[in-house]
Subunit: 370 residues, 2 copies
């Protein structure tokens, strides 16, 4: 039921246009997933997401397992029904969140024990339980296995040990997985060490997984290291499976990573910046709260044709932010998401015409002028 | 351009069905106006308001004059264009807000001096300036004059003095008003003193105004006093003009007041309760955060056919409230507003069939069971 179809690779770069076929519809790649951590893309309803070109969203098994509880969502008929979204959902296992808890967690071979960041209650996640949560309770279309995440910077020996444990946990995840409906991706670790990334890819590409996620990227390393690792991994990953760069990023990061051959992304930026008053425009990012927009009666982005840009001015949305009106994050998030989906669509069109580099160059020329 | 057309009066009560004709479209009465104090009905876009039957909204000259400033809105092309709402807007003068500032304001015959509740800056409102703000800068369809509001309880002599000043200020407001587009209502004061209410009505009904608002109602007096005054005023107000009960109320208040002959209402309850997690249902009000709704997979109101009730469960919306997700107030406000508009529509249909009392009885029988 799940299949990645590679449609075209740009002649001058590694950029790929494809289609992810799932039982809940197809996703054209390169694709961007908005973040719906707690079963909602903040401030936005599913109908609006579909209207602006969203085909898949990300949610998080860790957060949902804590609140409202995976069993409750199962009783509700699964995550799709619970949140009124009938298109594909990719769920993160929560490995990253658990490892971010630092002093609140304890890792052992069986799994990871942690205290909830909400009420301090003890929980134990195993590779098996997170597959069960995602597959049986939530009904995800794409699941992520439990992985061991390392800090940045981290020594090579610690990075190696995390790669090995993540591999063993992946084997257990594959054994647990039952349904044909939910796909399982592998998570490639290895920090900034190319040979470890290569070792991880070689190990995992022998296993029965439907795609590869790059983990431990954009965790504090230099931008040049990020790109170097993404590029290196793309060169060594199997070409017939989906490549997913987790938690990235700004428009320029998406362009750079698509160029190397990444297919899907998730990032909270469009909605997070949407709430704080930052807007993405064809000329770069702007901060709507700034005084200079007080009497600016033009849209957020003159080149944008989203609902927000067609009907509201910078001046009005600035007023909403300044008066703490809840319509402000709603409108700004909607615009920002539209900007992201529109960017992905344009990238795909450029790839299909073998003109990705030209598109990227032109985009970046305009994008950096502010 | 502005005209109130009385279509029908219920045979057994004073309940009226009418049409308010304005240059921006008609408003079927009895009508409810959602509150858009700062140029936005909290969390909701204009298209959604129209979809659920909203024909007129309320905004507030006081708040808009402070932020973003009336001149700025004038530069934006008026309030309708600024906030992307092309149907009628009634603006309150802000008299009530200014008088609520207590120690921050000083009343004299010329007008009222006050300090902004936001930054403490000094402002001076006169009957003339608030008409100018509403008519010239905001472009309201219905304006409210500056009135002197009194506390509750208040002595008869103070109430009388407020009636007299409000009358003199109304005369000055009428003299200031220029355009034919904007209608001006009178505000009837007089606290709980029937003879003062009568005196105010007699004085003001001789002036050239397009409707009558009841001010100083629901300010702390007993419910029985509220209804008594509303009933008494309706019996004495001219029948050919609109009657507006300011800042009221709960569903049961609307039913009671429509029965006496009130035509239009405004109240922040549907959106305010919407944000705090209270929902209006055909069986009464419920608090969605309650534990008992944790696994309640039914809609907010089984008898409701709004977007929210068609697509989401109490359990899901409770989860959104518990995780402080901004979609919670949005969905709950939308449902609550739908409930209010739907109630007004049903009241109107009942009036047209001379069955208002039966409708009210049946509504109240079900509404009080929770």
């Amino acid at each position: 039921m799940f299949k990645f179809e590679l449609i075209h690779t740009d002649k001058k770069t590694g950029a790929r246009a494809g289609i992810l076929h799932t039982s809940r519809g197809k996703v054209e790649t390169p694709a961007f997933m908005p973040v719906g951590t707690q079963g909602t893309v903040k401030t936005i309803i599913p109908e609006e997401l579909k209207d602006i070109g969203c085909q898949m969203i990300l949610s998080n098994a860790y957060h949902l397992a804590l609140r409202p509880g995976a069993e409750l969502i199962a009783k509700a008929g699964g995550l799709h029904k619970f949140m009124h979204w009938d298109m594909p959902i990719l769920t993160d296992s929560g490995g990253y969140q658990v490892f971010s808890l630092a002093n609140l967690r304890k890792v052992e071979e069986k799994g990871v024990q942690f205290r909830s960041h909400i009420d301090g209650q003890l929980h134990f996640f195993t590779p098996e339980s997170v597959v069960q949560i995602q597959e049986e309770f939530l009904g995800s279309d794409i699941m992520m296995p439990l992985d061991e995440c390392v800090d940045y910077p981290c020594s090579k020996s610690i990075a190696l040990s995390a790669v090995e444990r993540t591999y063993r946990w992946l084997e257990r995840s594959i054994k647990t997985k039952k349904a044909k409906k939910s796909a399982l991706f592998a998570i490639i670790q290895g920090s900034v060490y190319k040979d470890l990334r290569k070792q991880c890819i070689d190990l995992m590409s022998k296993l029965d997984v439907e795609g590869y996620a790059l983990g431990g990227i954009s965790v504090g390393e230099d931008k040049s290291d990020t790109y170097e690792i993404v590029k290196y991994c793309c060169e060594h990953l199997p070409k017939d499976k989906t490549r997913y760069l987790m938690g990235v990023g700004r428009p320029q990061d998406l362009l750079e990573s698509v160029q190397y051959g990444i297919d899907i992304f998730d990032c909270s930026l469009p909605t997070r910046e949407g709430r704080t008053g930052k807007s993405f425009t064809s000329k770069g990012e702007i901060t709507l709260r700034n005084f200079k927009f007080k009497e600016d009666f033009t849209p957020i982005d003159k080149e944008c044709s989203c609902y927000v840009c067609k009907n509201y001015t910078r001046s009005y949305i600035r007023h909403l932010f300044n008066t703490s009106e809840s319509l402000a994050p709603r409108l700004n998030s909607l615009h920002n998401l539209y900007f992201y989906f529109s960017l992905m669509k344009k990238m795909r069109q450029a790839i299909l015409k073998d003109s990705f580099l030209d598109f990227k160059k032109e985009f970046m020329r305009k994008y950096t002028t502010q």
